[in-house]
């Protein structure tokens, strides 16, 4: 068909989602992928969508995580593999034994795992987060098995990692859900930080049996929690006083 002349009218349909008329109707709306109907479904006075319309889904299915992501992952793996192999070879050629290069290779493997996991799982933030803590735990576990000695990774390293990760995630999700503003965000973060420090001290006591005469986490909490309360109070004042609002705005 000539590009500069209009097409011949056929049996037109209207998109129930974006309200546009389609002269030569396919199965779905070519603009927004909405369902087509024979009569207009949008009220004549409605001039903006009630909610943003998602772009149409490509009819050609790509790989689950996207070919570009897989390519990026391979680049990361290959980039880290080279220094790992070089360090192993150097170590082996030195005294026909692998000693220090195990730690280098393990560290590079952990970094690679973290990077590849993040690339493949993004933007599912909670999965990225979970994989991050699992990788750190595995890294600590293998590090412990390389060095030998008491099982510090299982006893204290991994629990502290998961405690920090869990509390960090909880803090982020609380802040995201409540949207408390900058001052109350600092206050909330300080509260969770106090909890985390308390938990770490408890873990140290339970696993290693080290008990200080003075409980340092309670002292820290005694400083951080009142500081958090002060931030809450500042927020309260700022919200209610135009002068303070203006002062802190600048």
């Amino acid at each position: 068909m000539d590009k500069l002349t209009p097409p011949i009218d056929g049996t037109s349909k209207f998109c129930s989602h974006c309200g546009i008329e389609v002269l030569d109707p396919p199965l779905r709306c070519p603009l927004c992928n909405g369902v087509l109907d024979s009569s207009p479904q949008i009220a004549p006075h409605q001039l903006y969508p009630r909610q943003s319309i998602a772009p149409p889904i490509s009819p050609v299915l790509s790989s689950p995580s996207g070919s570009r992501r897989f390519a990026a992952s391979w680049i990361v793996i290959l980039t880290l593999l080279i220094p790992a192999v070089v360090s192993l070879l150097t170590d082996w050629l030195g005294d026909r034994n692998i000693t220090w290069s195990r730690i280098v290779a393990l560290s590079l493997g952990a970094v690679g795992g973290l990077a590849v996991g993040s690339i493949l799982l993004w933007p599912r933030v909670w999965l990225v987060n979970l994989s991050l803590w699992i990788w750190i735990s595995l890294y600590l576990f293998f590090l412990n098995s390389i060095f030998g000695g008491s099982s510090w990774a299982l006893g204290i390293g991994i629990p502290i990692t998961f405690l920090s990760g869990g509390l960090g995630t909880l803090t982020v999700y609380t802040l995201k859900a409540l949207k408390p503003g900058p001052f109350r965000s600092i206050g909330t973060s300080l509260f969770f930080l106090s909890l985390g420090l308390g938990g770490i001290e408890l873990l140290i006591y339970l696993n290693l049996g080290i008990r200080n005469d003075i409980l340092w986490s309670i002292i820290t909490a005694g400083i951080l929690i009142p500081l958090g309360v002060i931030f809450f109070v500042i927020h309260h004042i700022v919200q209610r006083s135009p002068g303070a609002h203006k002062f802190f705005h600048w």
Binding site: K3, P6, I20, E21, L23, L31, P44, L47, I53, P242
Partner: protein, 427 residues
């Protein structure tokens, strides 16, 4: 087109300050009598893309400056969004596509970033797009159509449409302008990022012209005075004790000036400057007539080609200094962000932009009911106003990044008192 383009002078500072709240995007919309037809719209967009190939771009990051890079996804037809001029949550303000065309029901919109063009530049593209769509809808042959004042989509792209006019002036030895004092901002709570509220009021243009003519002013001046009057009404609502604490600066309205007519330019890139008109509420309550007189005389005095060269000189001087050119981009971002904030939104309460009349190709106007211009969302100036005329309608649009409603109430209440029949719609 393989070479990246440099940003024009007015756009250089924008990437340093764009955010989810201050996207720099503005929108022109045409409201038709009947629903849009997808096939005609898609064909019109394809033709107009070929006519203006420089607008299929995305922002790129270099070592010293940002630049524009070709992107086939640019200037494409996409579904509309509830909050105009905002970005999708997953979209980065720096990586945004700079021009998009939106279709929803019976409203056709084009959205562009100030990093690529200004209102008058986008108006030219919009006129071509809407005329082209209307011509296809009514079944006209585009080759035989009389295009009148509108640029035809079948013409070849002209190099003078893509010139940075700021750099085409000899500004050697011209002093910079005086920096105005900081302006008063209404202490209103901001909306979350990615949200924007717009209120459109459609006014009969002949009645408005009549009202302006009886006072011996232009329509733009009349509306500018109405906007300042509405801001003053908002302040007068505040209890007297609190008002004394609030009003420590003047109310200043920024009125963008299109320099194309003044300097005889054909460019579609940014070529505008802003003029400030202020009233100081500490001195007493102004009547509408007093504000109108102030707006009229300020515009008459300051709309002077020689006077405006001082502002041009200030804008261009920074870009041309070698010492500034050699600063890496991340430091420039920091510096430009501070300068932009300090000389930009801090110095004015709001902006009022009157884009004038939209022309369509003869014989295509009857399909369109009215047209609207949505201002870019501001982070500090949370309320901005625009005006756009088409046929016998003028659409006055209030764009807000706040829930505060008293300003639109005062503005449209005042206009309804003056002019009968203000139709309103919102998102």
């Amino acid at each position: 087109m393989t070479e990246p383009f440099t940003l024009d002078n007015a756009a250089k500072a924008w990437p340093a300050v764009v955010s989810k709240r201050q996207t720099s995007r503005f929108r022109l919309s045409a409201v038709f009598h009947t629903p849009l037809v997808y096939e005609h719209l898609d064909r019109a967009v394809q033709l107009v893309r070929q006519r203006y190939p420089w607008f299929m771009v995305r922002l790129g990051k270099g070592f010293f400056w940002y630049h524009l890079r070709e992107d086939p996804k640019g200037f494409a037809l996409v579904p509309d969004i509830r909050h105009p001029c905002t970005l999708a949550p997953e979209e980065s303000p720096i990586g945004q596509v700079l021009v998009t065309v939106h279709g929803f029901h019976r409203i056709l919109s084009i959205e562009a970033s100030h990093m690529i063009t200004d209102g008058a530049g986008l108006r030219e593209i919009f006129q071509t797009l809407v005329s082209c769509y209307c011509a296809l809808k009514v079944g006209s042959d585009l080759r035989k159509l009389e295009w009148g004042k509108v640029r035809s989509p079948l013409d070849t792209p002209k190099p003078d449409e893509w010139v940075d006019e700021f750099l085409n002036h000899d500004l050697e030895g011209i002093p910079g302008p005086e920096v105005p004092s900081k302006a008063l901002h209404l202490p209103v709570r901001p909306l979350p990022p990615n949200q924007y509220r717009v209120v459109h009021g459609i006014i009969p243009l002949d009645t408005l012209k009549e009202r302006a003519r009886t006072r011996g002013v232009k329509v733009g001046e009349y509306l500018g005075a109405a906007v300042l009057f509405a801001f003053q009404s908002c302040i007068l609502e505040v209890p007297k004790a609190a008002r004394r604490r609030l009003v420590r600066r003047p109310l200043r309205l920024l009125i963008p000036v299109d320099l194309r007519k003044l300097y005889g330019s054909n460019t579609l890139r940014n070529f505008l400057l802003g003029l400030g008109v202020d009233i100081d509420v500490r001195l007493g309550v102004y009547s509408f007539e007093e504000i109108l007189r102030r707006v009229h005389h300020t515009q008459q005095t300051e709309l002077d080609e020689k006077y405006l060269r001082r502002q041009l000189s200030r804008n261009v001087r920074g870009e041309q200094r070698l010492a500034i050119r050699l600063v890496p981009l991340f430091l420039k971002d920091l510096f430009l962000g501070i300068v932009f904030r300090d000389l930009g939104e801090v110095r004015h309460t709001a902006s009022f932009s009157n884009l004038g009349q939209i022309n369509l190709a003869p014989g295509t106007e009857h399909l369109v009911d009215h047209m609207a211009l949505v201002p870019p969302p501001g982070s500090l100036s949370r309320i901005n106003v625009t005006a756009l005329s088409f046929g016998n309608t003028l659409c006055l649009t209030v764009g807000k990044t706040t829930r505060y409603r008293r300003f639109d109430y005062h503005l449209f209440r005042f206009l309804a008192d003056q002019i009968l029949g203000v139709r309103m719609w919102t998102n």
